[in-house]
Structures are given as C-alpha cells and as structure tokens.
C-alpha cells in the first residue's frame, strides 16, 4: 500500500511537471501548421535546411535559400547547383537518417510521400519537420508562402507567388466559359492493353481541370490506375497526354494501338508527348510552366 502511494505520488509529480513544461514555450519559438495539420515549432530562423523532395528543393532555391540548403534527396536536380549538395537518400527506397543528422539541420522539409516514420524519427531527434503536400497549383502557392514565412524569405515568396498567381489567373480567365474537352493523362502505356492513367485526387487530375480539360481517368479508384483499353476507347478522349514519352511511347505508337483509331484524339492527331515531365509532375514553382504547356495542348486556339 505504501508502495502504491509512492508511485502515485511520483506519477502526479511527473504529470504536473510535464504540463508545466508544455505550458511554457521558449520565448523565441514560433509555430506553424503544415499541410497535413501538424504543428511545427521553430526556434529562430532556420539556417541549415534539408530538402526531402525535388519539388521542395526547387521551392527553396526559388526563394533564394540555396545557400541554406545543406542536404537534398537524391533526385533533386534543379536548379543545377542543387546537384552538388549532399544527398540524403530518397523517399524510395529509403532516407539515410544518419546522414541527415550528421548535417545538423535545423529544418527538414518533407513531402506528402515521405513515410510518417521518417517524420516522427527526425522530429524525435530534435529536427523540426514541415510536410508539404499540395493537391493543386493553389496548394503549391500556399506552400511557397509558408516556406517564405518559416525561413524569413517573405518578400521573395510574395514576389514569386504574385507572379504565379497572375499566370494562374490568366489561364483561368482565358479558359473561362469554354467547353472542357475530355483528356486522358497516360502515366505508362508501355503495355497498351492497360495503360496507367491519372486518377482522382492526383496532381495531374487537378492540373487538367485548371487547364480547361476534363480528366477521363477521374472515374477511377485511385490517383494512378490501370485503365482497360476498351474503357479508353469507350471514354473516347479528345486529347491524349503522353507522360510516358520518356519510356519511349510516341504519338505514332499510340496511333497504331488496336481499336484506338476510332478515338477522337487519334483521329484529330491530338496526342501530345510531355518532353519534360518535371514541369507537370513536380509540385514546385515551375508547375506554372507545366500548366501553361498543358493549357496550350488542350486549347491550342486560345493559347498561342
């Protein structure tokens, strides 16, 4: 009985202590909410930043923070200066936590695809992590504003987002009122019987809508799914976007697929390869260029 009372006393002391601690933040601390609703607490402006995705690296460099970036994921290749920074692994297959820690970062910028385990691990090692998970172009603009706030690059962020917002507005006003043609976004059609296409909730689906199109893959079950060739013929897309050009799929090879000759896009020759998929598939500052490119493909008469 004595023992029990002793433990209870310890427990009470601990709890009081914990509550007290959490109620008294460090004076200079600032808090932010990231894209997945986490609260991120920072002590001062980050000086050593690790980027865990190519799009995040592009955002940081676009805000003039290249000098503060001490580590990037393996695929960060833009701008060219980013290639020389220490690599810390990648979302697939894995990040090297030891390398990240050895860089002594005071901020890690993760991405929606970063496994939650890494976020928890880095956070527990005392490295604040902010997760960016934009769903569309507006999401990217908000993320740039957020990173600007966190890093103190607010004016750079303002300039960049204003210009992006202007371009976005221009696209939106240009397509206003026009009919939205059916667009098929093909991720990988090297097996032409069942091409992988962009589905609901994908960044590409959102991009198609913004560019004045209607995603025929929107009826699928996941953000990237295999659409039966018959279903494609049945959906009769008016425009086909080849995001698998890098895998060797060409306009000619699509034209020769059995049964596809009746598809409007094939009849009209409206099959467009994406030669630099980093513009459309990376939710970074250059996504505006990707959007304009896509809008030109979908509405060639409106965008010269």
């Amino acid at each position: 009985m004595k023992l029990l009372r002793f433990f209870t006393a310890i427990l009470v002391v601990c709890m009081v202590g914990l509550t007290a601690c959490s109620n008294t933040p460090t004076p200079t601390a600032t808090t932010f909410t990231d894209d997945i609703g986490r609260t991120v607490q920072l002590n001062g402006t980050p000086q050593r930043i690790v980027s865990l995705s190519p799009s995040n690296t592009e955002i940081l460099f676009a805000l003039g923070l290249g000098a503060e970036v001490v580590g990037t994921d393996d695929y960060s290749d833009y701008p060219a200066e980013a290639k020389t920074i220490t690599h810390v692994g990648s979302a697939f297959p894995s990040f090297n936590i030891e390398t990240i820690v050895s860089l002594k970062p005071d901020l890690a910028v993760a991405f929606g695809y970063t496994l939650p385990d890494y976020v928890t691990k880095l956070q527990s090692l005392g490295i604040p992590v902010v997760v960016l998970a934009p769903k569309d172009v507006n999401g990217v603009i908000n993320d740039i504003t957020l990173i600007g706030k966190i890093t103190g690059a607010t004016s750079e962020a303002k300039t960049l987002t204003t210009s992006m917002q202007n371009s976005l507005n221009t696209v939106e006003s240009t397509i206003k009122g026009v009919t939205h043609p059916r667009v098929l976004w093909e991720f990988d059609g090297t097996d032409p019987g069942n091409p992988w296409v962009a589905g609901p909730g994908s960044f590409n689906d959102a991009l198609i809508t913004l560019a004045g199109g209607q995603d025929v893959g929107a009826g699928g079950p996941t953000s990237s799914w295999q659409m039966n060739s018959e279903e494609v013929i049945n959906a009769d897309p008016q425009i086909i976007i080849l995001d698998d050009y890098q895998y060797g799929v060409t306009t000619e090879s699509v034209q020769q697929r059995p049964g596809w000759s009746t598809i409007i896009a094939v009849e009209n020759g409206a099959i467009y390869p994406i030669t630099d998929s980093n513009l459309t598939d990376r939710p970074g500052p250059r996504v505006i260029d990707g959007l304009e490119l896509l809008a030109q493909m979908i509405h060639p008469e409106l965008f010269k």
Binding site: T190, G193, N194, G220, M227, N228, S229, E231, G248, P258
Partner: protein
C-alpha cells in the same frame, strides 16, 4: 470407360466455348452473344447482312476483346498443361510451372526490358514479353545444365538448382527495383507483370503463340503414357523400357516452352498451374491420358473467367488477375478437396 472419357473432354470443350462467348460479350460495351455469332459468321463470309450491330461494337470485339479472351485461353491451357507435366515428372504435389526457375527468369528478363527507355513493338510483341519468354527458357536451361551430372539430372538436384537460381534472380530483380527511379524503371509496370495480367493487345501475339501452345499440348499428350510410368518412380519407368533421362529432358522442355509462352502473354499468373491439375486429378483420377487434355481445357475456362472478372469487377479499373485466380481458386479447390470421396492418387 473410353466413352466416359470422351464425354468429359467434350463437355469441357463445350464449357470453354460457352465461357469464351460469355467473356466476349461482357465489357464496357455490351455485345449480346447472338450478335457476336452474326459478326463472326459475317467475318467468315457466311452471313452477309451487316445490320444489327454498330461499327464500334465490331471494332471493340475484333480488335480489342477477342485477342485478349483468346490470350486468356492460351495462357490458362499452357499453364495447366505445364503444371500437369511438372507435377507428374517431378512427382511433387507442390510443383507448378514456375518451380524450376521459369518465373524468376521471366521476371528478370521483363525487368531488364523495362529498364530500356524504348517501347518497340516487333510484329505485335513488345520488348517485355520477348524478354520474359527468353528469360523463362534461359533460366530453365541454366538450371538443367547445373543439375546435370554424368549424363543424369536427378530430380532433387533440379529442384535445388531451380530454387537457388530463382532466389538469385529474384535478388537481382529486387536490387533493380531498389535502384528504381535512378534507372528510369517503371515500378507500376513491374508490379503489373509480377501480379500477372493478360496483356494480349495484338492479333499477331495470338497468331504466333497459339500454334506453339497447341503443338506443345499435343506433344505433351504423346508422353501421357510415359508420365503414368514415371509415377512409379524413375527406376520403375526405366524397367518399363523408358529412356528416363531423355524423356525427362523432353518433357521439361515442353513444359518450359508452354510456361514461357504463358508468361510472355500474362506475366506471372499464380495458382492456375498448381491447382487446376490437382482439381482434375481429384475429379478424374491420376491417368495422364485424361488428365492432360482435361486440365488444358479446364485451365483455359478458369482463366477466361478470372480475366473476365479482372476487367469487370472494379470496372473501369483492372484487378491483377493473379489476385483473382487465388481468390476464386482457393475456396473452390478446398471444397473439392473436402467433398471428394476419391482417395487422392498422385
């Protein structure tokens, strides 16, 4: 007895025909079976009236759906026949068409082909099916060479060599997957291949592979009697006057060729080649003269149904066919196993 066997084979053939027609009629565009019959007759020049269907139905049926359905027929027949051959030859109930390295060889070939940023199509064949075909045959050849010693290839050595070569090739495939993006490898495409899925999109694929599969099955039937002899052991077979090593090599060759044809059309579809031969053995007994044709026909019907479900259940999306073969096949087989009064004769 003979009459009874003939009736079974005939019944299974009718079943296959029915299943093929059913599968050809269902899809995003429905085509009633009578219309299919008319279109077929018209195509052969027997029926001249072209009213009663739309051009879109015709192009979907002939250019997209039929090649795929027939692809499923070929893959199912090839895998089931190969399964009977391997189980009979190796006297191993766990043997399936993939047991001596074909699956990992095919996966290795396919993955390598996917590394190339090319999408060439030679006469209806993409790089991946060709590489899968060659990989499957290559790995079996390697396993056989490794297991063969002093003119003999003992079954244990073959199983072990097959296991080791498989593990080695799987490790390489995993390594390639790990380095995935850096090499421009398409993880989704690899996934589809490993899970299996009928990827017959061109008639040429059917035209080239159908004769190979049919000849393979006919060749296998010539060895039906000898496979019965193998069931009493290699020594017993030798006493019956069979040139064991030579026959073993030929039967392995036929089985591997059939499997290679199947993987080049459908990736790694599991379960069919293992369970259809067992189901037929439970229903019809262990005589290979009946077992081989019955398994080929039943396997073909089974895979046509699995493929139909794969493309319609979650329509417009596809389900990997390997998921369905196990999902439908496992309960069905357990039912047979529990119900069967017949003592299981292997």
């Amino acid at each position: 007895m003979r009459k009874y066997k003939r009736a079974i084979i005939f019944g299974l053939a009718i079943l296959l025909l029915a299943v093929v027609l059913l599968s050809a009629s269902i899809g995003p565009v429905k085509i009633p079976i009578p219309v299919i019959m008319k279109m077929l007759l018209h195509n052969f020049g027997i029926y001249t009236n072209t009213s009663g269907w739309q051009a879109a139905q015709e192009s979907i049926l002939f250019q997209v759906r039929l090649p795929r359905v027939l692809g499923a027929v070929l893959v199912g027949a090839a895998l089931s026949t190969a399964g009977v051959l391997f189980q009979g030859l190796l006297r191993n109930p766990m043997a399936d068409p993939y047991i001596i390295g074909t699956a990992s060889g095919a996966a290795f070939g396919a993955t390598l082909a996917m590394l190339l940023p090319l999408s060439l199509v030679f006469y209806g064949f993409g790089l991946v099916p060709i590489a899968a075909f060659l990989g499957a045959l290559g790995s079996v050849l390697l396993v056989y060479r490794l297991a063969r010693f002093g003119g003999k290839a003992p079954i244990v050595s073959m199983l072990l060599a097959g296991f080791v070569i498989s593990s080695f090739l799987v490790a390489i495939v995993m390594l390639l997957l790990t380095m995935s993006d850096r090499l421009g490898l398409r993880i989704q495409q690899v996934f589809s291949f490993l899970m299996g899925g009928i990827s017959v999109t061109y008639w040429q694929q059917v035209v080239v592979l159908a004769p190979l599969v049919v000849l393979g099955i006919i060749a296998a039937m010539f060895f039906a009697g000898h496979l019965n002899a193998f069931s009493i052991g290699e020594e017993g077979a030798a006493y019956l006057g069979i040139d064991v090593e030579r026959e073993k090599m030929i039967i392995l060759g036929i089985g591997s060729l059939l499997t290679a044809c199947a993987v080049s059309m459908g990736g790694l579809i599991g379960f069919v080649g293992l369970i259809i031969p067992h189901a037929m053995r439970l229903l019809l007994g262990p005589d290979h003269r009946l077992l081989l044709p019955a398994s080929a026909l039943a396997g073909a019907s089974f895979l046509v149904i699995a493929d139909l479900l794969a493309r319609t259940l979650l329509s417009p999306a596809e389900i990997p066919i390997g998921v369905l073969t196990a999902l439908i096949g496992a309960p069905f087989f357990l039912y047979l196993l529990r119900r069967s009064r017949r003592e299981y004769a292997f």
